[in-house]
Amino acid sequence: MKPRLHIHAGRLIDPANGLDTLADLYVADGVVVSVGSAPGGFQADQVIDASGLIVCPGLVDLRAKLREPGEEHKATIASETLAAARAGITTLCCPPDTTPVIDTPAVARLIMERARHCAYSRVLPLGALTRGLDGQQLCEMAMLAEAGCCGVSNDRRPLANLLVLRRAMEYAATFGLTVFFHPQEFSLVDGGCAHGGAVATRLGLPGVPTSAETVAVAGILELVAELGVRTHFCLLSTARAAQLIARAQHDGLPVTADVSAHLHLTEHEILDFDVQCHVQPPLRTLRDRDGLRHWLQQGAIAAICSDHQPHESDAKLAPFAATASGISALETLLPLSLRLVDEGLFSLSDMIARLTCQPAEIVQCGGGNLAAGKVADICLFAEKKYWTVSENSLVSQGKNTPFLDWEMQGQVIMTILAGEQVYVREESP
C-alpha cells in the first residue's frame, strides 16, 4: 500500500488548473485525491509540512540522455534517474541514440523496466524514426508506440532525403505518434562546432550558420502544412527559427517547440575555448538568446528541457572541436528557469507550466497536473534557497557543466513519484 500523504500549507502552483494558492494536497494510492480540504474519512499516514515551499507537479523533461544501454561509463539509468529525483523531475524522455538504438520494442522495454526497477522517476523513451537512425528505412513505429515510446525521432542524425522525411511523418501520424525533430540541415552544418559569427571567426572554429537551423525548420513546416501531422521541434537555438514556428502556430499548424541551454548562454561563453560550452546546436548570439526568451514568454516555445548529456571527464579533455558536446543539466534545470522568473520574463506559474503541463501535453503522458484523480507526481521546492554548483553538489554521474561555481536559486526539498517519496532533502528547509 502506498502511504496516504497530507501535504500541508504549501503554495500550490498547478498551472494546468490555473491554481496559485495556499492549499493542502491529499494523496492516496499514488493519486491526488483532493485539493484544499480533506476528503471525508481521510486518515494521513504522514503529514508533510510544506509551509514556505512551492508545491507543483513533478517536472517533465523532454530530453535527457541516460546513456544506458551502451555508454554506462558515462552514466546509468540508476544514476541519472536519481539525479532527476533530486532535481524535482518525475518524467524524463530519453532520446533513441542509445547502443543499441531504440529501434525495437525490446530496447524500449528494457529502458522502461530498468527505470521502474530503480523507481526514482518515470522514463519515456523516444523511438527511432529510422532503423539504427540510418535515415533510410522506417522503424516499426506501431510496435514502438505499443511498447511505450512517447514519440519518434531521428535524434541529431540526418535523413537520407525529403521523401524519407515526408513518409516518416505520415507513417508516424498514422499511429498518433508525434515526430520530434532536431532541425538542422546537415550540409550547412558542414562539420561546424560553433555559431558562425564573430566568436567563431576569432577563435578559428568552423562555424554553423543560422540558416542550418532555419532552412530545416522552414522545410519541415512546409511538410506539416501539407500533411497536418503533429510535429515537435527540439532545442531551438535561433530567434529566427522560433519566429518561423510562432508564425506557423498562428496559421494553425500543430507544431510545438522546446529550448534548453540557449536560453542562458551565448557564443561569448566559448571564448578561451571553454569546452563545457560545446553544445549542439551551438550557442548563438545575444540577440538569439533574447529572441528565444521572447518566444518562450509568448508561448510559441512551450517547454524548457534540460538536454541532459552526462559525460565522463575524459570526454571533455581535448581541444574544443574534438570534445564531446553536451551539458550535464538535470540539476540546474529548475534553478536556471527560476532565474528567468527573477529577471522578470514571466511569472513563477508561467515558468512552471513550461516545465510541467506543457511538456506533458507534448508527449501526452498525463503528468504535470495535480487535479483530483491525477497521478501524484509532485515537486516541493524552496524558491529562495541558494546553493553553489560544484562537482560534489551534483548527483548525476556527469559533472560536465559550464555552471560550476555559479550560485543557483531554488532547491528541491522533496520529490514524490506516484505517491511515493523518492527524494527527501536531508537538512531542514
Binding site: G197, R202, G204, L205, L271, D272, F273, A318, P319
Partner: protein
C-alpha cells in the same frame, strides 16, 4: 575579449605564447626589439648564445611542417637548448594515445618547453591549461586559430622596412577563412596601430562577421590594393576547390592572383609578403614572388631570430616563478 590571461604570469610577463590577441603593444615591441638583437647573433660566424643551456625544448608537431619546425629547431639550438623533434602524426597518437597522455609522458621526461602545432583550433590553449606549472607552451599553429610567431616575424619584417606602423595600410589577400596566419597578423597589426587592415578575397573565403576583427573587406583586388603599403598573400590550398568554395585555380588567379600589373595599383614602395610555401601561378606570379618588392625569403630568415626572442622571454618567466 579573452576571459582569462593564461599566457601571462602574475606580473604580466609572457609565460606561454598562444595567440597575439590580448597582448599589449609594449610586449609586442619588446619581443621585436629582442628579436632585433638576436638577428645580429644569427649573422655572426658563431651563431650561439648560452641563454637556454641545459633546457630541453620539444617540438611537438601533430601536423606536417618543414619551415616552421626547422626555424624553431634552429632558434632553440642557437639558444643552446637541447631539442627533441616529435612528429606526432606518425607516433604515439596514431596508436590511440590521447593528446594529454602524450603531453604528460613528455613532462615526465623533464622537458621545459613545448612548441606545438596541431590541426585543432584551441589545441595550444588546451595544452597550456593542462601542462605542469614549470612548462612553457609556444603555439606553432593551431587549426584556423592562431600562428603567433609567424605574425611576429611578419611584423619584424615590416618594421625593418617601414619603421613606423601607424601610417600603414596593409592588405591580406586570399583564404582568410581557413588561415591562422591571417588571424594572428590581424591582431598584431591592429595592436601595433596600423592605419587600416584590408582583407581581399571572394566572399567564400572571408569568415563570418569580418568587421568584428576590425578589417575592411574588398572583393576586387585592384581596388583593394590602392594606396597599400604592405600586401600579404596567403597560400591557397587545393582542397578549397572540392568544398565548392572556388570554381578553379584558373579563375582564382585571374581575379586574385598578384601580378606585376596589379601590384602597380599599390604604393611604389609596397612590400610583398607571403608566409609560404608559395603556389606560383595560383596566388602569386613568379615575377612578383622573385621581384624587387618581395620579402618572402627575408621572412624566413627573420623567423629564427623572432622565435629565439619568444623562447627566451617565455623561459625567463619560467625561471623566476
Amino acid at each position: 575579449m579573452m576571459k582569462d590571461r593564461i599566457q601571462l604570469d602574475k606580473q604580466g610577463r609572457l609565460r606561454h605564447l598562444l595567440t597575439i590577441e590580448g597582448l599589449r603593444r609594449e610586449m609586442l615591441v619588446e619581443l621585436l626589439d629582442t628579436a632585433e638583437s638576436f638577428a645580429e647573433v644569427t649573422e655572426r660566424s658563431v651563431k650561439k648564445v648560452p641563454l637556454l643551456r641545459g633546457k630541453t625544448i620539444v617540438n611537438l608537431f601533430f601536423e606536417n611542417s618543414t619551415r616552421t619546425r626547422t626555424t624553431f629547431e634552429l632558434a632553440a639550438k642557437r639558444l643552446s637548448a637541447d631539442v627533441i623533434n616529435i612528429n606526432a602524426t606518425t607516433s604515439a597518437t596514431s596508436k590511440g594515445e590521447t593528446l594529454l597522455d602524450t603531453l604528460h609522458t613528455l613532462e615526465a621526461m623533464h622537458c621545459d618547453m613545448f612548441v606545438v602545432r596541431h590541426p585543432d583550433s584551441g589545441a595550444a590553449h588546451f595544452i597550456a591549461r593542462h601542462a605542469a606549472s614549470h612548462v612553457s607552451v609556444i603555439n606553432a599553429g593551431d587549426g584556423r586559430h592562431a600562428h603567433p610567431t609567424q605574425a611576429l616575424l611578419d611584423m619584424f619584417t615590416i618594421r625593418r622596412h617601414k619603421h613606423d606602423f601607424h601610417p600603414l595600410i596593409v592588405a591580406i589577400v586570399g583564404d582568410v577563412l581557413h588561415s591562422r596566419v591571417a588571424r594572428s597578423q590581424i591582431h598584431a597589426l591592429s595592436t601595433l596601430g596600423v592605419q587600416e587592415i584590408r582583407v581581399i578575397a571572394p566572399r567564400t573565403l572571408v569568415p563570418p562577421e569580418p568587421a568584428s576583427l576590425g578589417v575592411h573587406v574588398y572583393h576586387d583586388l585592384e581596388r583593394g590594393l590602392r594606396n597599400v603599403d604592405v600586401v600579404i598573400m596567403l597560400r591557397l590550398q587545393y582542397e578549397r576547390m572540392q568544398g565548392a568554395l572556388l570554381p578553379s585555380e584558373h579563375e582564382y588567379y585571374r581575379l586574385f592572383g598578384l601580378t606585376e600589373e596589379r601590384l602597380a595599383c599599390a604604393r611604389d614602395d609596397v612590400l610583398v609578403m607571403h608566409p609560404g610555401p608559395i603556389n606560383r601561378g595560383v596566388e602569386i606570379a613568379s615575377s612578383v614572388a622573385d621581384g624587387p618588392h618581395s620579402l618572402i625569403l627575408q621572412q624566413v630568415t627573420h623567423g629564427t631570430a623572432v622565435r629565439m626572442a619568444v623562447m627566451s622571454h617565455a623561459m625567463r618567466t619560467g625561471e623566476s616563478s
